[in-house]
């Protein structure tokens, strides 16, 4: 038989957390701090709207770009939050999670050989999706001393003649880093000058703890060269509903909607009705969850300080990214030993790029009670490692 597979897919590496996932799943009594989704249930009034949509028999396709009503609510929401005005008929599309939007955007924007600048550590899908779209990933290794923000110098160094797209993902998974307005302004100047485009994955925008999130698309001259991606998963605790959206210039969106139409048809109808309710009446829920995450974030940072584990203060998402270089173990070795000895799972920083070496991603999408238990074990583990070294 011939090889049924494409060379491209063979070249794509499997996700770095797969191995850990398998071990943790086997361990019945393990505590996991490895989850990348909220611990809250979707607020009841949102679920109720989903149930209501089913009861009413709203079980058919919606238009390819998404329910008109939902796109209109997205328009209002972005105008309210970011001060950017998108035309809901031409510049907004509803997708199956932010993930689909990333994939579709890359596939619509890249020609073979086009370079995509991807600052790492970052979410796991950007590199594979770039490769599947015949793009060439160009990695920037972000630095702890810059609090994992992208600096203009780093960006300039990475740009070549072939650079087409920069992927920006702030607040960031896995580091929790944010980019503030001044940081973005410095980057935007270069982007405009070098005539490149931005895919801005802002899925964690609502989980910003140092003032409101600023989108790069809100800066002068940037709306026309940015695909802004967001969704309902993190802000409204709706991961399983699989609903996101992309906003951007009509010229690009038109093609993205075309591809989406052929590949997906439309995002799940039930989820779209629920999402309308989320945007109309979910503001308080978001604030409640943000406050809870923020409390946990403060707790963790304080605990690391007491342990003497260096960790920059993350301004967003629900992750902390402490440095474990002092122990002379790789991230994977540390995580594996920690899991075996203390039965707590964390994700090695290397799952999000080579420059994640020496770091761990710890999620605080857990109750304070769970965090206390797990962090107590981390403190003991760290202490034992230090004692062993002496």
């Amino acid at each position: 038989m011939r090889n049924p597979l494409s060379d491209k897919i063979i070249e794509v590496k499997p996700s770095g957390i797969r191995k850990f996932f398998d071990i943790v799943s086997e361990m019945k009594d393990a505590i996991s701090l490895g989850v990348g989704e909220p611990d809250f249930d979707t607020p009841w009034h949102i679920r109720d709207e989903g149930i209501y949509a089913l009861e009413k028999g709203r079980t058919f396709y919606t238009s390819n770009a998404g329910l008109k009503e939902l796109r209109e609510e997205i328009r209002k929401y972005i105008e309210r939050k970011q001060g950017i005005s998108y035309d809901p008929m031409k510049e907004i599309m509803v997708t199956v999670g932010g993930s689909e939007a990333i994939d579709v955007a890359l596939r619509c924007m890249l020609n073979p050989g086009d370079e995509v600048i991807i600052p790492e550590p970052c979410y796991v899908s950007y590199v594979p999706c770039t490769k599947m779209a015949d793009g060439v990933p160009v990695i920037i290794n972000l630095k702890n001393e810059n609090r994992f923000r992208l600096t203009p110098e780093e960006l300039l160094d990475a740009i070549t003649e072939k650079t087409k797209v920069l992927i920006l993902a702030f607040p960031n998974n896995p580091t929790g880093a944010i980019m503030e307005k001044e940081d973005l302004e410095a980057i935007a100047r270069i982007i405009i000058e070098k005539d490149i485009f931005v895919i801005s994955d802002e899925i964690y925008s609502e989980l910003s703890y140092a003032g409101d999130h600023v989108s790069i698309a809100s800066l002068p001259g940037m709306k026309e060269r940015t695909i802004m991606i967001n969704g309902f998963s993190k802000a409204f605790a709706m991961t399983g509903w699989r609903l996101g959206y992309a906003c951007g210039p009509e010229m690009i969106l038109k093609q993205m909607i075309k591809l989406h139409q052929f590949a997906i048809m439309c995002a799940p109808t039930t989820s779209q009705y629920a999402a309308v309710e989320a945007l109309k009446n979910g503001e308080e829920d978001v604030a409640m969850m943000r406050e809870a995450y923020n409390q946990r974030r403060r707790y963790l940072l304080h605990a690391f300080e007491e342990m003497g584990l260096p960790c920059f203060e993350p301004g967003g998402a629900f992750y902390v990214f402490p440095c474990i270089k002092e122990f002379g173990l790789t991230s994977e070795e540390f995580a594996l030993e920690f899991l075996q000895k203390e039965k707590v799972a964390v994700v090695p920083g290397t799952a999000f790029g080579d420059c994640g070496e020496g770091f761990l991603r710890i999620s605080y999408a857990y109750s304070l009670e769970d965090l206390k238990l797990a962090i107590g074990r981390l403190a003991r583990f760290v202490e034992n490692l230090r004692a062993g070294k002496e």
């Binding site: 996700s15 957390i17 850990f20 996932f21 943790v24 799943s25 393990a30 996991s32 490895g34 989850v35 990348g36 989704e37 611990d39 979410y123 796991v124 899908s125 998974n173 406050e291 409390q295 946990r296 403060r298 707790y299 304080h302 799972a345 994700v347 799952a351 999000f352 304070l368």
Partner: protein, 160 residues
Amino acid sequence: MREKILTIIEKNSKVDLKELAIILGEEEIDVANEIRAMEEEGIICGYHTLIDWEKTSIEKVSALIEVRVTPQRGQGFDSIAERIYKYPEVNSVYLLSGGYDLLVTLEGKTLKEVASFVSDKLSTLDTVLSTATHFILKKYKDHGTIMAKKYEDTRLKMTP
């Protein structure tokens, strides 16, 4: 800061002061002072424990009693409410809008005990016009806490 403290201790009055200060990003002494002030001002009225008595072997009967009364000149409902809330077996007394005036909740050891409180003490008060007693059969949710189910984390243990 007050609202945040109250939101947390309403759910968990056992929270450690030091921890409370950490998660709120405040100084411990400030949090302690704020709590003391709120106790003195009567904003914080007590630190109770939510108990699901059904899971114990201790027998308890709870009832809600709707009470219609004649308000008294110059005192409205306050003095009749006071006469009722002074009974130690009474848990709570609310003045309501709608079809009746006072909602009284109380706990007794047996049905008979509750019944005799209503017939002997409550109904015989001068200003009480009528009562309607409802016995609680099951508590599904109390003080924002669902009694029936325990939280179960059904998420995948590791996701990117």
